[in-house]
């Protein structure tokens, strides 16, 4: 009885020690380490409530050592449940889960534009007209008047300093059409003329296609000027647009298509390049070919290890390195994908080679065939279909990776995506999402169909 008590006392001070001394070594060690881990994380996160769990485990441990001493073994389900509860609770805290932070208005702000992906737009024609204005005035400013294709635009006075009020008149535009009026400085940057100089000034033309409005020379008109006192010609622009039926790719839509093409070709180039290197490497990494003598076996081990290391580095991380080496763009992404694919394909190919049936090789040799004929008739038919299937599969994976690799500067549609996110163009982002989904689904389907026929 005293021995039993001594074990309980020992477990009270060091959880698991009593169990350990009673011969249940793994049980004792498990209790000790589990208790320690939970106490440590609780100490770290310092929420008083969590001390309940180490206490419960400690209590269970006493009950357990008491039972063990009496020859009874209890299930460890209970302490495992305590440990899991503690881990889950602390995990909740570490991940900073807080559902109240999800705001409906923010979700609406971002999701509403996404319902209208910026991919196509109605086809329209533009009617553009401009008139030069001198800012600031020279001693003899030319008339601020311009005629072009029956349209006449004038500004009065002919020139002015920043902030000067100008009367703008234009005739001969399309009648009853909304017209954007904006400023353009000498280096070609548009400046807004509407409220606060951050909105577009728009006005309808009358039945004759004329409009009259008052503008002020924008405060930022001379920001880019090397010498603000030097008179230079700025322009006032009038721009009208009207639909002419049908649809066309929008500017973003065009960029999305270009990005998609870059992404698919990036994956294709990377896969092609990878195949060139992976095929010879796979023979070196095939155990059945290389285990003949110590030298080849050493080569096998080295190649295999290299491939394994390379394969374990995510292509996204390799891409960051290549972006530094060769600069931004699809080339860096292609190199990263290729390097990762060499490792992945090398391994898959070598497994195919390891799995070939030696029977046909023996049979073809027995017919009196020479070495090349044996390779052509017994080896190649066995490896080409699985090699091709794995290559197509890799291309499929590379297309998915290529979309993500753009995010770190690897070019293609991912690069476009991150740029659109930065300028908060959610309609563009939504167009990119759709394009990525379409590419992945289509390629997934094609690759599955092709592989089905090969295997």
């Amino acid at each position: 009885m005293s021995k039993q008590m001594s074990n309980v006392v020992m477990s009270a001070f060091v959880p698991g020690l009593g169990q350990f001394l009673l011969g249940e070594r793994y049980r004792g060690l498990g209790i000790f380490l589990g208790f320690l881990a939970i106490v440590a994380t609780t100490l770290w996160y310092g929420q008083p409530l969590w001390y309940l769990f180490p206490f419960l485990i400690w209590a269970w441990n006493l009950w357990d050592v008491f039972g063990l001493a009496a020859g009874q073994k209890h299930s460890v389900l209970l302490p495992l449940a305590f440990g899991l509860a503690a881990a889950y609770g602390i995990g909740w805290q570490v991940v900073e889960i807080d559902f109240s932070r999800a705001k409906v208005e923010r979700a609406v702000a971002i999701l509403r534009p996404m319902l209208q992906p910026d991919f196509i737009q109605p086809r329209r024609e533009l009617n553009q007209m401009w008139v030069p204005v001198e800012v600031p005035c020279s001693s003899q400013p030319p008339a601020a008047r311009r005629e072009d294709a029956g349209r006449v635009a004038t500004v009065t006075p002919d020139c002015g300093p920043v902030g000067e009020t100008l009367l703008v008149k234009v005739t001969g535009l399309w009648p009853k059409t909304e017209t954007n009026i904006f400023w353009q400085n000498p280096i070609g940057n548009p400046l807004m003329l509407g409220e606060g100089e951050i909105r577009m000034l728009t006005q309808m033309t009358d039945e004759e296609g004329a409009l009259t409005t008052v503008i002020r020379v924008p405060t930022t008109a001379l920001v880019a000027a090397p010498d603000p006192t030097l008179p230079q010609f700025h322009r006032v622009y009038f721009e009208q647009a009207r639909p002419i039926g049908g649809y066309e790719l929008s500017f973003i839509g065009n960029e999305v298509l270009k990005g998609a093409l870059a992404t698919v070709s990036m994956a294709l180039m990377a896969t092609g390049l990878a195949v060139l290197f992976a095929v010879p490497l796979s023979f070196l990494a095939a155990r059945n070919l290389m285990s003949g003598n110590p030298v080849t076996y050493a080569i096998y081990l080295v190649v295999r290890t290299l491939l394994n290391i390379l394969r374990s580095i995510e292509s996204l991380i390799i891409a960051i390195v290549f972006v530094v080496i060769v600069g931004l763009g699809p080339f860096a992404g292609m190199l990263a994908l290729a390097l990762h694919s060499i490792a992945a394909l090398g391994k898959l190919y070598s497994e195919v080679i390891e799995g070939i049936d030696p029977g046909p090789i023996e049979a073809i040799r027995a017919t009196g065939a020479n070495w090349l004929q044996v390779v052509r008739y017994a080896v190649i038919p066995q490896i080409i279909p699985p090699f091709t299937a794995f290559t197509i599969y890799r291309w499929d994976i590379n297309v998915r990776s290529a979309t993500v690799i753009g995010l770190v500067g690897g070019g293609g549609i991912g690069f476009l995506l991150i740029e659109l996110i930065r300028v908060n163009n959610m309609r563009g982002v939504s167009a990119v999402f759709i394009a990525i989904a379409v590419i992945v689904i289509v390629l997934d389907y094609i690759s599955a169909k092709l592989r089905e026929r090969l295997v």
């Binding site: 029977g359 073809i364 017919t367 009196g368 065939a369 090349l372 052509r376 038919p381 066995q382």
Partner: protein
């Protein structure tokens, strides 16, 4: 006339598969080799066309020493020795016709054959060989689409393409249903009657009695019996195969 003289084979791992085996095979014989799995039957058959190099001894065929042949001479010898395997050893993804044509590789132009181009007469011969084994209609199927018995018939057709003077059959029916065994062995028997020497390893005593003109028995790589099939009674069979032989034979009947 094939003479096997004091042939021994020791594998690099030290296993001695054949120990000083000698016997002669006259032209036109149907010689059956019996013995337990691992007794050296497969090694012996592969030593004859040097798929396995014998460590010691000579194999002389029609006064040509196969064991001393150069690689080029060896290929010329191999093309006249057909071989049929337990596992059929067809290229599963290739068509039946391609598998049969590959039997012709020893005769074919080495360059055009690499491109997969075959002369019309070879294709005609292949179709004839397939007709002979009764599966001409499967010529364009993939080899693995065929049943085991059909695959072995493709194996025989491939051996036929070599216009062989000798056929080595390594347990040709061991992977097949017992009922199919006779159909396959009858093809070999027919070829044998046309003058092709057959050396065949077999397991079942009733098949041995039915087909063999002469029997060689191996036990642990040593020749323990050579004689006519009739001389092998149950007592002799038991001596070669050990105590479990009874059950094997009962199962085969």
């Amino acid at each position: 006339m094939l003479r096997i003289q004091n042939v021994s084979k020791t594998y690099p791992n030290g296993t001695q598969a054949l120990k000083n085996v000698s016997f002669d095979v006259a032209d036109g014989e149907f010689l059956v080799i019996i013995g337990l799995s691992g007794s050296g039957k497969s090694t012996l058959l592969r030593c004859i066309n040097r798929l396995i190099e014998p460590t010691e001894g000579k194999i002389i065929w029609d006064d040509v020493d196969i064991t001393a042949a150069s690689p080029a001479e060896l290929r010329k010898i191999r093309r006249t020795i057909g071989m049929v395997f337990q596992q059929f050893n067809l290229v599963k993804r290739s068509s039946v016709l391609t598998n049969v044509l590959s039997g012709r590789l020893g005769y074919a132009n080495p360059w055009t054959s690499l491109l997969g181009i075959w002369p019309q007469e070879d294709i005609a011969q292949a179709m004839q060989a397939l007709e002979r084994v009764g599966i001409a209609e499967k010529a364009h199927s993939r080899a693995d689409a065929l049943s085991g018995g059909q695959q072995q018939r493709v194996g025989i057709a491939r051996a036929l393409m070599q216009n062989p003077k000798l056929i080595l059959a390594d347990e040709p029916v061991a992977s097949l249903d017992p009922v199919l065994s006779h159909s396959i062995l009858q093809y070999l028997e027919q070829l044998n009657k046309e003058g092709i020497t057959v050396i065949c390893s077999l397991h079942f005593l009733d098949l041995v009695h039915r087909y063999a003109t002469r029997v060689v028995a191996l036990k642990d790589g040593v020749k323990v019996f050579e004689g006519s099939a009739k001389e092998i009674d149950r007592a002799k069979f038991k001596e070669i195969y050990g105590e479990e032989a009874q059950e094997v034979r009962a199962a085969s009947l």
